[in-house]
Amino acid sequence: MFQIFNTFLIGITAGSIYALMAIAIVLVWRSTRVVNFAQAGMALLSTYIGYEVIQQFGSYWLALPLAMISGALVAAFIELVFMRLLLKHSSQGAIASIAPIIATLGLLGVIKAFIGFIWGNQDVNIESPLSNIGYSLGSQTLALSPMKLFILVAVSVLLISLTFIFQKTNLGLALRASAHAPEISRLAGIRVDFVRTFGWALAGAAGGAAGMLQTANGNGALAPDSLEFSLLLAFGFIAAVIGGLDSLLGAVVGALVLGLVLAFVLTYVGGSLVFITAFLLLLVVLIVRPAGIISQRAGRRA
């Protein structure tokens, strides 16, 4: 019984980090109709910047917001310089369907190489600022430690803020409008380009938070080729697709579902089935509810 509860906690914690990544992917999708594989690369870069901040100033609490800010700046820069150029040059021909995907893949590689140039490929360490020891419940130990609790709280706060921005502010409205109907939005006076960049910036901040939290949650090791970040990308993406690429709430739900399913499979079935489980889950969702778990549209055409 206790093991079930602990497994649930493990799943929720991991899922909430995937949720941040999934949100970043959905934000970019909703504001530019692009799936951004470089998301994990930007998250990685932000986390390394956070690492530098810790090296200089010794404080994780300072590093976390700075990583998010730098994530926002990097993302905005990439959107301004790179994506606009890309969309201008490659909107025709056979390449159109995959140009953004391939280009962001290339960007991922460039960012990783860049990180390797500066910081090297060996592991560097980010200490988790809070204890990792689980709380006790009687004689049992919970899979919930101060650090994990902080992660859950932080993700919830970020989530609520993002949803608020998206749903309740003019900026959020502009963001949603420009994604669906850019020309009409322009006519309505919305500065579509600025709004797009803003969407990317939000995504970058979310990615930076995901990176910092995940590294502190794990064993603290950080490297350009780290498996954790590749998984963050893959699982974040899968979570976003499961949730239905169109809603932030869907991304969160999808991520939590993914996290829970993986945790239970890990504990009760076996460690090596993790990856194939993610794939099967995705497949099942796409077949049963093609528009995602939380979907607003019937179809699945991009």
Binding site: Q214, N219, D225, L227
Partner: protein
């Protein structure tokens, strides 16, 4: 250009570029000149298994530099080419091919990893081409089989031997109690399972992990929950450093503390500390080694290695990995010297088979190289980690247990290690 002609045309261009890089005639023995010997190693320098192991090439180079500074081997200076294989067998094969075909090394030295070494031996066709793979950094018992791997020489005692020694310890100290095991789910771990079977150890709970999965969030946590459910009194950790660290770290977070037994592969305290396992967590755990402990500066080999490390490998902390690297390097120099001034691959292999068992070496067990066996060290001493993470031999002195990879019994060794040659330079 007409589309239909494209494939042949572009192929011609590509092929022409290949032609332009046609090689000149080969030297007599690859990797050997009158003044130099080129050796190659492929080892995880980055990636999941790299913590700790990525210090080995630096340590080897340091010892080779020391030897080079003192005249080299039969007048030749040793040059080590290092490639990173990230503990991925297919990458190891690619790097080994590069070392053999592009860098044209004389021999491979100290390649790390059971799966990587197996893949290299097979794919780079070491036996067909007579390329020596010296003192491989793995304890897989199969490599000692001369028929299967005619050009490969083990160094470490096999995992079967280690498991049997652990089994003896368990039998003498934990008879009738429940034992748990975490092991890597490939030939490395399976070799150990064989040894435990020989020692007739029955595990209350066995947890295999796929290499690399220890990095996935939550995986190591599930090991601990499984252990907590089965409640063994003592747990054997037979994995690489990152897996051992994940197990110990998560056990601490879950407030689970059985008696730990750390296999030698993942048992280096400095490496574990780099993986966020403070030495305090190790205190009281049992560990195994076949070489003198790195903290034992009264040992003449350790002292010599420490000096070489501080001179030629500045800034790198001295630990088991340094000792391991320098031991391989030391033995390599012995072997090269024994092969004589007319250096050939065949000659090198013959030299180790003939006189390898009598090479000076830091190991506290005898080597068993012969014309019929490529087994290196044959046993372990048992120690306990103290609060600083240093492994101290039980009883204050090294009691070495030797055995074989088969059904032979575990016996206390009476081997007395011969004195180190002057200045640590093989003569």
């Amino acid at each position: 250009m007409n589309r239909r002609k494209l494939i042949p045309a572009s192929a011609v261009i590509a092929a022409a570029s290949m032609l332009l890089s046609a090689a000149p005639a080969q030297a007599a023995e690859p990797g050997v000149t009158a003044t130099s010997i080129k050796l190659g190693i492929t080892i995880p320098m980055t990636g999941i298994a790299s913590p700790g192991y990525n210090k080995i090439p630096g340590a080897m180079k340091a010892y080779f530099d020391y030897v080079n500074a003192n005249g080299g081997v039969n007048g030749r200076k040793i040059n080590l080419v290092v490639k990173d294989d990230q503990y991925i067998p297919t990458l190891a094969v690619a790097k080994a091919n590069e070392l053999i075909l592009k860098d044209k090394v004389f021999a491979l030295v100290g390649t790390l990893g059971t799966a990587s070494n197996k893949a290299i031996a097979r794919s780079a066709q070491l036996s067909n081409r007579g390329i020596p793979a010296l003192f491989v950094n793995t304890g897989f018992s199969g490599f000692a089989d001369k028929k299967a791997y005619p050009t490969t020489f083990s160094l470490l005692p096999s995992y079967q031997m280690e498991a049997k020694v652990i089994g003896k310890y368990l039998d003498e100290n934990f008879k009738g109690q429940k034992v748990g095991l975490i092991y890597q789910d490939d030939d490395f771990g399976l070799d150990a399972l064989n040894g435990f079977k020989q020692a007739k150890i029955d595990f209350a709970v066995k947890i295999p992990y796929a290499s690399g999965s220890q990095a996935v969030a939550g995986v190591a946590g599930t090991w601990i929950t499984k252990l907590q459910a089965a409640k063994p009194d003592v747990v054997v950790l037979f994995g690489v450093s990152s897996a051992t660290a994940a197990a110990l770290g998560n056990a601490f977070a879950y407030k689970y503390s059985p008696k730990w037994i750390l296999g030698s592969v993942g048992g280096d305290a400095v490496t574990l500390a780099a993986n966020k396992v403070p030495p305090a967590l190790l205190a009281g755990a049992k560990g195994f080694s076949f070489a003198p402990a790195p903290s034992d500066s009264s040992d003449e080999y350790i002292k010599m290695f420490m000096d070489v490390n501080s001179t030629y490998n500045k800034g790198v902390a001295f630990d088991n990995n340094i000792v391991a690297g320098m031991t391989s390097a030391f033995l390599t120099v012995q072997a090269l010297k024994a092969a004589g001034p007319k250096l050939t691959r065949k000659g090198l292999i013959a030299a180790i088979e003939k006189s390898g068992a009598s090479f000076a070496n830091p190991s506290l067990t005898p080597f068993a190289y012969s014309a019929t066996s490529h087994v290196g060290a044959t046993g372990y001493w048992i120690g306990t980690y103290d609060a600083t993470g240093a492994l101290k031999p039980d009883g204050g002195k090294y009691t070495v247990y030797t055995t074989d990879s088969g059904t032979g019994a575990v016996v206390t060794s009476t081997y007395k290690r011969p004195a180190m040659p002057a200045k640590g330079l093989p003569n």
